[in-house]
């Protein structure tokens, strides 16, 4: 069973300390990172997703310390950042297959899986359309869908339900809860109410996690 451990993690940008001495262990299930804007939720998620390196401390994946185990973690990671410079001139499907290739997935199977994921979140009819024609909510769902490709054991989702209407947000939440049965799902959110009963809630504030 996958396990992610943060040990004494700190992150500084020049002289500004964003996170200080964060330690926590994550097991399969849903963990919500909540807290005010600028508290460091997205920074913590970027560190977990190996998009950035901590200034101090160690991250362990399945008992192995990063950066040594970074490759192992990345092979089983699904990451949905808050904002992505989506390639406007590609179709959603072309973009997703590009990400699938970079994840080292079999492209035929990834294509079918992408169709299934987008079908579940109401995006399938538009996957052959250019991203330039997408609304904010559609872009958000596309970023979410690419994170689910493959069989990620660690899902790092940064505000996946922002900009979505209630019904679509519930569809995403259902998928997230389904994934959280077998994988570690860490998600930042401002509004924890709906998923909170099924999740571990961590509050990020003042550089620490409680």
């Amino acid at each position: 069973m996958a396990e992610l451990t943060l040990q004494g993690i700190a992150k500084r940008y020049r002289k500004k300390a964003v996170l200080a001495d964060v330690s926590h262990s994550f097991a399969p299930g849903l963990t919500l990172l909540v807290g005010p804007s600028g508290a460091g939720k997205s920074t913590l998620l970027r560190l977990i997703a190996t998009a950035e390196k901590p200034s101090a401390g160690t991250i362990f994946w399945d008992g192995n310390a990063l950066p040594g185990a970074r490759g192992k973690l990345r092979r089983t990671l699904g990451y949905a950042p808050q904002a992505v410079d989506l390639p406007e001139d590609l179709t959603a499907r072309e973009f997703a297959m590009h990400i699938a290739a970079l994840k080292g997935l079999a492209l035929g199977a990834a294509d079918k899986q992408f169709a299934a994921i987008t079908d579940a979140i109401g995006l399938h009819a538009d996957i052959n359309n250019r991203i330039s024609t997408f609304s904010g909510g559609m872009r958000r769902r596309l970023i979410f869908a690419q994170a689910l490709l493959g069989d990620p054991q660690l899902l790092a989702l940064d505000e996946p339900t922002a900009e979505l209407d209630g019904a679509t947000a519930r569809k995403l939440s259902a998928l997230i809860l389904e994934r959280a049965k077998a994988a570690i799902v860490i998600m930042t959110t401002h509004l924890a109410d709906e998923l909170a009963p099924s999740a571990t809630v961590l509050r990020v504030e003042g550089g620490s996690v409680t």
Binding site: P87, L90, A101, G104, A110, Q113, A115, L149
Partner: protein, 466 residues
């Protein structure tokens, strides 16, 4: 209100330029290039050759020579910089719904662009003074003449580039690849036309046809009918020719024509604000149903909700390569044109038709894909994938080379059967070089403009050297 908008547009653009590291590269490029282009007395090639002879170097000739370096080297680089620098992305979503004057915004941006290019010219002037101490006999260095000739020649030309960039950014159809193509044609025509005309003349109207501004100073004192002029890197003998470039500069209509070009640049910037076209989502409208069906991927196939999660590929590197090839050759139109170029290899000459056609297509495919993958916030995502961005870049070069081989395949096979391996070697070399140039420039500039224009310039060199 318009004056306030102009000031704000100018100030914001200058502030953004001041944070651009590319500006420092630009400030260095021209002086460094000038130093290497302007060789010693013993060199067998020269920036300027008049009647196949290098001119005797004087302060005024040095200023003109630096002006030629600007026309041949700095103009396209300046356009690249202005198109792909920190001010490329404008907050048009907010600006376009305000009542603010677009003319004021355009003039403010034009002012900032001109200020930046004036800085580059100032750096070039300083370099010219330094070079003068190295190449001119003691006592013959006139820093005023060097500055005067350089600024008279290069100033209006650089202002023109700034104006064209503002105009191209104002019109929907020139915001994309067509803008680079049009600039490339304009630049080539502006240099070649006055040299190729081969006629001497005087007066304002004649001088106005000399946009780069160096032809009149170089040819004014030459006898009629013997005004052969080469610029760039021309072969010359040991014999020198004495030129009185100041006679050309002081000839009737020359200075007025340079001022007129500066005025025209300002008018173009005004026009850019006047004809500004708001951004629109790109929706392709194809009139013919059959063509629409051919070019569109159509509706997606029905999804299987029970599709299992995709497993890891047995050959993940092949997957990345295939993905890179698909995205370089993105769109059915590109594929149709590639098929046409490939078919030409069966009946047309490879070096003059098939290979240039393949490289022209790739100039657009490579620059578009290289740039789209180098956007900062996409790299933040793809940087967490097992295939890190650097590995993807390697795959990009291999995929670009594979495309040249694929398009050239009919010609390569045909020639190979006759024992001729040149098409294969050419495809490999040009494909790898073009892909490498595209990915390096896109990684540095994070936009498709730089790779596209450089590839177009190199493509023209390749085509015309056949």
């Amino acid at each position: 209100m318009s004056a306030a908008i102009l000031r704000s547009s100018l100030g914001t653009s200058l502030a953004r330029y001041s944070r651009s590291w590319g500006l420092w590269v630009l400030l260095l490029i021209a002086p460094v290039a000038a130093r290497y282009w302007i060789g010693t007395e013993q060199d067998t090639s020269a920036v300027i050759a008049v009647q196949n002879m290098a001119p005797v170097m004087t302060s005024a000739v040095l200023g003109v020579t630096l002006g030629v370096v600007v026309s041949t080297l700095l103009l396209p680089i300046a356009f690249l910089y202005l198109r792909s620098n920190a001010t490329r992305l404008q907050p048009w979503q907010v600006e376009e719904v305000t009542t603010g004057s677009r003319i004021a915004v355009a003039l403010g941006r034009f002012g900032a662009d001109v200020a930046v290019l004036a800085g580059v010219l100032a750096a070039m002037t300083l370099a010219g003074w330094l070079i003068a101490w190295l190449v001119l006999p003691a006592g013959q260095v006139d820093i005023g003449l060097i500055a005067l000739t350089l600024w008279l020649i290069a100033g209006p030309a650089l202002m023109g580039v700034a104006a064209v960039r503002i105009l191209f950014d104002s019109l929907g159809f020139t915001r994309g690849p067509l803008g680079e193509v049009f600039f490339y044609i304009l630049w080539m025509a502006s240099i070649v036309a006055p040299i190729a005309s081969g006629t001497k003349g005087d007066g304002f109207a004649y001088n106005l046809t000399d946009y780069p501004g160096f032809v009149q100073p170089l040819t004014h004192t030459l006898p009629d009918g013997d005004t052969s002029l080469s610029i760039g890197s021309a072969e010359v003998g040991s014999k020198k020719i004495a030129l009185d470039v100041m006679a050309g500069i002081n000839s009737p209509g020359y200075i007025a024509s340079r001022l007129a070009w500066a005025g025209i640049a300002l008018l173009i910037a005004l026009l850019a604000g006047r004809v500004y076209a708001p951004h629109k989502p790109r929706v392709r409208r194809i009139r013919w149903k059959w063509l629409r069906r051919l070019l569109s991927p159509g509706a997606p196939r029905a999804a299987n909700p029970d599709a299992p999660p995709a497993r890891g590929s047995w050959l993940p590197a092949v997957g990345v390569l295939v993905s890179e090839m698909r995205l370089i050759g993105q769109g059915r139109l590109w594929l149709l044109l590639a098929a046409a170029a490939a078919a030409s290899g069966l009946f047309a000459d490879f070096r003059t038709v098939t290979s240039p056609a393949a490289l022209l297509l790739l100039a657009f495919g490579l620059s578009a894909h290289a740039a789209r993958c180098e956007r900062t916030k996409l790299l933040a995502l793809t940087g967490t994938a097992p295939f890190a961005p650097m590995l993807r870049r390697v795959a990009f070069v291999v995929a670009g080379t594979a495309w040249t081989l694929l398009i050239g395949a009919p010609a390569i096979v045909k020639a190979g059967l006759a024992g001729n391996m040149v098409p294969l070697e050419l495809s490999l070399a040009t494909g790898a070089a073009a892909s490498l140039i595209a990915i390096v420039l896109a990684t540095v500039a994070r936009s498709p403009f730089a790779p596209r224009l450089v590839l177009l310039i190199l493509w023209y060199g390749y085509l015309s050297s056949a």
